[in-house]
Point group: C2
Chain length 393, copies 2
């Protein structure tokens, strides 16, 4: 097999043909500024409106105008955390989040701490789940915002979003969720799940990079992050990115339409992959929740191995995997998510994330397993750590 | 002539074929996350590096790593104004800008005022030029930042950037310029012009929407606007937008390479257009500087006419123009730029911006003039204002 195998779909995906076809006319034909009053502008705005409708429908928003386009998930998370906190400061200065949020949420929280906000970072259990009792225990009269991700990007664990939303609202607290990894992987219904603000991104679901959205329920107060013209109902300045929005809208529509089929297919592959790993490679630990998880993300700790070395060996075989989030790839620190699960230094350093996309096949998995077995054996041979015990899985 | 004529290139341009060709492989072939360690990621980063080099070279930055990619000009302006102000607050809280800056600069300044900063909005003369004497007069020991646009987006007036940069540095003040309308229209040299931070955008120069950059001279302190992973040397979180960056880099390269040819061509067209207007339409005033201006932007006030009505009539003839900035199109207020020039309400309301692109031709101008003459006559016939005097131009 000479083809390269891409198992890093949680980092980013290719843009699908259907999505690209939606984008292409917007580069050179329907290229107007969507804010312009003339025909070129109105045509462009028509495309933006359609994309907004598609996304609103996919997440069961009440109104299309509750969808605000951003330059991606990171901007949407920054905007949600900082914009909601600052707009509601008169009600209190306490925010609850978890220890395993995406860097963009955690860094925004750190920035708020410097402005005098108090942040509670809830711990998670060994599977990556935050406890509802813990959440309730930490709610104070000053709590104005709860931000908890729907699906963790490194281990795939799904939080109890609906219960968290309900709890937040029983206490009059705004609930934001980073759903970047959830779109296309689980059914999202902002009304049923009692979500006030939700972050989405294009490039994890075969849409373009550089585009995302923040769902903001009508009536929720939020400050701007990016000021400018009157775009996005005065809430986000900047010329509207028509081609990317067109592609993003299509990508969300497709991901939602094909959710069940894709998840079933990936589940079969995942199961087969894990069976093969268990059968052929000793001393491997599966990180994340055994049941409450998305199918596409498989995070494994290979004992007595440095994950980055394994990544490099697999890369030589044309197989792309990651050691965790791409956003922090190459940094010396071990993953804050794996640390929060209570993994020791060795298991955290030996972690590899395999994230399957909808084009995965059993044939490709067989190739990966073959190379994985060889690379793991090779690295363990030269490993300074020798096994004297441990959990063989 | 059935073809539509687009004279709103200052609002946005189409993406040129050369640029699109640079982008296309990044959607479905070189689609990796540029932060990933594997081959897909390294290939993507190679493309980003090349774009960064191209832009650095075009503006004569000392180092490529002084170019930071953003989601566009608006984000770059927000980042520059707020990031520079907040990072240098220990030195003072006074900022100098002008009354005719882009909305993204003005709104960022307003936001800083709420945080306790003092902003001086320098007036401009009837041609849109800020005075250097005025600037010097307003510098205080607390002044930490001067932000003045290189080229105004509504009237095309070019500020004395080099002299402003020199003045700023003589007083130890950081100098930022919004050069969104300057790229491709005038030679930019950040070292020679003593620029510390400079905003650029893709979609005004036949590049994609949703991408821009902030040049930040090495050594200049700036806070983040968008927090997240370690992208852009920890200064701007978010998955790197590889296709748009590839296109942006190419667009800047082409715009810089073809600058002289394009400007000469547009100058000839502009001259012809203005001659025809002067010959065939009475009571028209040219807004902006007669000499110190970019060739592509022609802002005319048609007396006894509502600009928006003229825009609509021209639109019916397939001609796209604007009444000012697209960012505020449709708003009831008259342009803050035209107000700053001292134009009365009637002249401000009667203003139309014609912005020529590199594909303009004499034939198209003839068609536009013909329609313009008819539409102006038609509107003046039904106008409630009748002319009793005024400057016939």
């Amino acid at each position: 097999m000479n083809e390269k195998i891409y198992l890093d779909n949680a980092a980013t995906t290719y843009v699908s043909g259907e999505v690209l076809n939606e984008m292409l006319p917007c580069f050179s034909t329907i290229y107007g500024n969507a804010s312009s009053l003339h025909n070129f502008g109105r045509e462009a705005m028509g495309i933006v409106d359609r994309a907004r409708d598609r996304i609103a429908k996919a997440i069961n928003a009440k109104m299309s105008n509750e969808i605000y386009f951003t330059s991606g998930g990171t901007e949407a998370n920054n905007w949600a955390i900082m914009g909601l906190a600052l707009a509601n400061r008169n009600k209190g200065n306490h925010i609850i989040t978890t220890a395993i949020e995406h860097e963009s949420v955690l860094a925004s929280c750190k920035s708020l701490e410097q402005m005098g906000f108090e942040i509670t970072y809830l711990p998670v259990d060994q599977y990556g789940l935050a406890s509802l009792a813990d959440l309730m225990h930490n709610i104070k009269t000053e709590t104005i915002l709860i931000s908890m991700m729907s699906v963790n990007n490194e281990i795939g664990t799904i939080q109890n979003i609906k219960a968290i939303g309900k709890t937040a609202h029983e206490h009059g607290i705004i609930f934001h969720t980073d759903a970047v990894q959830a779109v296309g992987a689980l059914k999202l219904d902002v009304q049923d799940m009692e979500i006030d603000a939700m972050t989405m991104s294009g490039h994890k679901i075969y849409g373009p990079k550089g585009i995302g959205a923040l769902y903001i329920k009508n009536g929720i107060k939020i400050n701007n992050l990016i000021y400018g013209g009157s775009q996005e109902r005065n809430k986000r300045g900047g010329t509207i990115n028509v081609p990317s929005i067109a592609g993003f809208g299509k990508a969300v529509e497709i991901a939602t339409r094909d959710l069940a089929v894709n998840q079933q297919k990936i589940k079969t592959i995942r199961t087969y992959f894990l069976e093969q790993v268990n059968e052929k490679i000793p001393y491997v630990k599966l990180n994340g929740h055994p049941l409450q998880k998305v199918q596409g993300i498989v995070n494994l700790s290979f004992e007595m191995i440095d994950g980055e070395s394994l990544l490099m060996l697999l890369d030589l075989d044309g197989i792309a995997v990651s050691t965790g989030s791409a956003c922090t790839a190459g940094l010396a620190e071990t993953s804050h998510v794996l640390q929060a699960l209570g993994l020791g230094e060795e298991l955290a350093r030996g972690a590899i994330r395999f994230s399957f996309g909808k084009m995965i096949s059993k044939e490709k998995v067989d190739f990966v397993i073959d190379k994985l077995v060889k690379s793991v054996a090779k690295l363990r041979k030269i490993s300074p750590v020798t096994k004297t015990g441990g959990n063989k899985k």
